[in-house]
């Protein structure tokens, strides 16, 4: 056996075609809205049209009398159930717990954002439910709203929650304030930056949907839902909201059409549909339309930050201080409170040796849609701020942008940062060198000149970054306020004739787990790839799990599967030793065969499996069967890292930015399936480029969403993006047996500052030193005009 568990059968590291593709390509995918249950009714959710109001009467009489309507329920009907919980308790600087208001499934007393659920209408058809909902008369008594961080934190601002003074949920910090301030005070150079990390809408192309069902003969509830983590939904919905025990609540997350973080949270809709199905003893389906998704799917990012970096005379970073306001929206979604704290503040060492770092974050309530994880979740916000600041530092000190990064790289591992993390392994020079070469960094000035001859301003930008993935060690996150463990579960069932079912608590919604996990099992167990099927997404089929987010599925879930395989092999060794009349210690396992060392006497895994299920000749005291489960709690985060380089051309007449090229050199750990890994990198890059150049979720001062459809929220289209130049330099994670790190979020973390640094570089001859995301043509044109007006 080679290192990291390979039997050398060649499945690990091969770009095998995906098992899941046949069904998706032929229209046989089974997404939630594709499922229809016998006797199913349809729900429409009436949502608040105002951002902040006291709820007067909600008159549902006309709706109840409308054709086809079976029931109408409002917040008053569900008031007795628990609130929708949040998963992470944050403490403020003074040790006090965050303000944590109850989040009722349907509005009670007040509405606090446009899109909040006021009532559910259940009818024979979708159209009947929608039309009846229009007959509900809601008396909204308007209250002043706060729709932005500035408005919410202004003196005398209206309060989203009576108990949250200044609309503060928490005032959190990490690092050593005194040390960072002293280092900055004594620094040879000091640079500061203010940045906006704008709000984004995740926009998975499959809208959310849910079907609640209740079987009165067994008292069992089933919820089909578009979730990245069905067991987590069962835990939160069952234990906290509806008070249902796990054995009476089944959550099925079938094929899910993208998540990007927006399908992590436990949503009020899931509780409402499950509860309503119980009230009616009928299946009830709800499918969001896109306009509804814009005001009800959790949104991402939305920070205002200011940061100061001190450098010594040689350009080495000596101290960093960051102050951030993070918009949490009106209610605390599942991961809302940890994204801008423990997935953000702890990233500020980046790949650099900055010895003193201090980060403070105000979590702020506003009358907007709740904010939660979005691809990268906290780490893009940190990386963007840091990499913009490093470029500013290079400009201020006159040190080359590449050189200043290289001067500050961490080169000794393990490395303990001043903000809690300990990096296990990395080689930041290698990815930097690879990216510079792949992007022909040295040839750029010639390209700039050539573009100039065409009247274009060409710029190049770089970002060197690290991310913390594979979340997360339970004891660590528990000490930081997490209310759940973040281990993962894998089960491997070898059937009597040798085929294998693998059960994972992670969920695949585009990542290709059915293929990647099958490759791991085929290789480590020495069976055929086609003989392995991966099962996910059903709490009745899978022992347990925490789901898919934070680039954890392979590093945590894949390791659980790997460990379960090792248990299968250990048991198989006992069976083989018995059959071969050898001692267990003399049995070697490779390529699917148990062999007596130094002989040609062996038994295949298939023969061992058959014996395990037909145990006529069997070791005394050993249980029949060949099925093992492993819970894997990671020892540390994993730390993918890399360098991204973007090159742009700006038309100074129009401000239009053309993204000419994007180059990535990434260290994502050991690669199981290069085709899938590159696909994940492409997708993350597109998401990051979308943030840098196109996407912006905007509310007006009254809390109305201005960008509420694809007509006015700019999604990246094929024509907006170039082909991507992807390169790899791999170091193995040291603390999981596969050596894997994670890849799903890399692009969205690394590339936004590279793109903006490129735009600023292009505009720098005009005197432009900063531009906010997204760098739309309007914004770029205005920056050019402002710079020229100053001349």
């Amino acid at each position: 056996m080679s290192d990291n568990g390979s039997n050398g059968t060649g499945f690990i590291g091969a770009s095998l075609k995906r098992k899941e593709d046949a069904r998706f390509l032929t229209g046989r995918g089974r997404y939630t809205d594709d499922i229809n249950l016998p006797g199913q009714l349809y729900a429409h959710l009436l949502r608040s049209t105002v951002a902040h109001a006291s709820l007067g009467s909600v008159d549902t009489s006309a709706a109840k009398a409308a054709p086809g309507v079976h029931a109408v329920f409002t917040g008053a009907d569900m008031e007795h159930v628990g609130g929708v919980p949040t998963g992470w308790l944050i403490h403020s600087k003074d040790g006090s717990p965050m303000v944590e208001p109850k989040h009722p499934a349907m509005a009670v007393g007040k509405v606090r954002h446009v899109g909040e659920i006021v009532a559910i209408v259940v009818a024979e058809t979708r159209d009947q439910a929608r039309e009846a909902a229009a007959l509900i008369d809601v008396d909204y008594q308007d209250l002043p709203a706060v729709a932005s961080l500035e408005a919410a934190r202004a003196d005398g601002a209206p309060k989203v929650w009576d108990e949250a003074d200044g609309n503060l949920c928490y005032d959190w910090e990490v690092g050593d304030r005194a040390a960072a301030e002293a280092a900055i005070d004594g620094a040879a150079h000091v640079v500061s930056i203010d940045v906006v990390n704008q709000r984004l809408v995740p926009n998975a192309i499959e809208p959310r949907a849910a079907i609640g069902n209740f079987d009165p003969t067994t008292d069992e509830y089933t919820l089909y839902t578009t979730s990245q983590n069905p067991h987590l939904i069962r835990l939160l919905l069952g234990a906290f909201v509806l008070g249902l025990p796990e054995h009476k609540l089944r959550i099925v997350a079938p094929d899910v059409g993208g998540g990007f973080g927006s399908k992590i949270p436990h949503y009020a809709e899931e509780a409402i549909l499950t509860w309503t199905a119980g009230q009616l003893c009928r299946p009830v389906k709800w499918t969001s339309d896109r306009s509804e998704a814009f005001v009800s799917d959790t949104q991402g990012r939305d920070h205002l930050s200011t940061a100061t970096l001190g450098l010594d005379q040689d350009g080495r970073f000596v101290g960093l201080k960051v102050s951030t306001k993070a918009n949490l929206g009106a209610y605390l979604s599942t991961f809302a409170t940890c994204v801008p704290t423990y997935l953000y503040g702890i990233l500020f060492a980046g790949p650099y040796t900055t010895p003193a770092i201090y980060v403070e974050v105000e979590g702020v309530f506003t009358n907007t849609v709740p904010v939660d994880a979005l691809r990268g979740a906290g780490r893009p916000e940190a990386t963007y701020l840091l990499e913009r600041l490093v470029d500013k530092a290079a400009a201020a000190t006159g040190i080359d942008r590449v050189d200043i990064r290289r001067r500050n790289f961490i080169r000794e591992f393990p490395y303990q940062t001043p903000v809690a993390l300990q990096y296990d392994q990395g080689d930041y020079d290698a990815t930097l060198d690879l990216a510079l070469s792949a992007a022909d960094w040295d040839g750029f000035e010639a390209r700039r000149s050539e573009a100039g001859s065409r009247g274009k301003l060409r710029g190049i930008g770089i970002s060197t970054f690290i991310e913390a993935c594979g979340i997360a060690p339970s004891a660590v996150v528990g000490s930081l306020g997490a209310r759940a463990g973040l281990y993962e579960v894998g089960s491997v069932r070898v059937h009597p004739t040798g085929s294998v079912s693998v059960f994972t608590g992670t969920h695949s919604h585009g990542q290709g787990h059915e293929t990647t996990f099958a490759q791991i099992v085929a290789e480590t167990l020495g069976v055929d790839f086609e003989a392995v099927d991966v099962v996910h997404g059903d709490t009745n089929a899978i022992p347990f799990g925490m789901g898919t987010y934070g680039s954890r599925s392979l590093a945590v879930g894949g390791t659980a599967i790997y460990n379960a395989v090792q248990k299968v092999i250990a048991k198989g060794r006992k069976i083989a030793a018995h059959l071969l009349e050898a001692s267990e210690e003399d049995i070697e396992f490779a390529d699917g065969n148990f062999t007596v060392a130094g002989t040609d006497r062996s038994k295949s895994i298939g023969e061992v499996a058959l014996t395990a299920y037909v145990p006529h000749n069997y070791p005394e005291g050993l249980e029949p069967g060949l099925e093992e489960t492993a819970f894997y709690d990671p020892l540390n985060f994993t730390f993918p890292a890399g360098t991204h380089i973007a090159e742009v051309e700006v038309d100074p007449e129009t401000g239009v930015v053309e993204l000419v090229s994007v180059t990535g050199a990434d260290d994502v750990g050991r690669i199981i399936n290069p085709m899938i890994v590159n696909g994940q990198l492409h997708g993350g890059l597109a998401h990051g480029i979308g943030q840098a150049l196109l996407e912006h979720c905007e509310y007006d001062a009254e809390g109305q969403l201005v960008t509420g459809s694809y007509m006015n929220y700019t999604m990246p289209r094929a024509g907006d993006l170039p082909n991507f130049n992807i390169n790899h330099n791999t170091t193995h994670c040291t603390h999981n047996p596969l050596g894997v790190k994670g890849v799903g979020e890399v692009g969205s973390i690394g590339v936004p500052p590279a793109v903006i640094n490129a735009v600023v570089d292009a505009l720098s001859p005009l005197g432009v030193t900063h531009i906010e995301m997204p760098a739309t043509s309007e914004r770029v044109w205005q920056a050019i005009q402002a710079a020229q007006a100053q001349d």
Partner: protein, 157 residues
Amino acid sequence: MPAVTMKVNGVSRSAEVEGRTLLVDFLREKLALTGTHVGCDTSQCGACVVHVNGQSVKSCTCLAVDADGAEVTTIEGLANGADLHPMQEAFREHHGLQCGFCTPGMVMSAIDLVNNNPDPGEADVRQWLDGNFCRCTGYHNIVKSVLAGASAMGGGS
């Protein structure tokens, strides 16, 4: 309610629909052809693209009654048994899909591109797919797939 009859994937299908019933709802709800998806309500995302009389149409923007008498092809009608259409095969070969939700519309749209332009270049593909959103792939492998699919369908390159 009006009755409509259309040939869907080569088979004549009839049903009563409301006048307002969209073609996509007719396909999904009446015919249980759930491969055609709905991703938006402003006719932008393209997850619902099918062929009506050989041309790509966003079936969320077409009434079922307007397709009365038409020949409709959906993603379910492309493969010949286990043999995938060359465009489907190209998407599989080049990892042109991840979550699969936009995929049926992408494939149907791509085939119509090749029907109109048998030898498209990369820029042609990117422009043609303006009305098909994908959030997973960054389009890189979709473009690669469409170019390969065009070639396999008998195009010039």
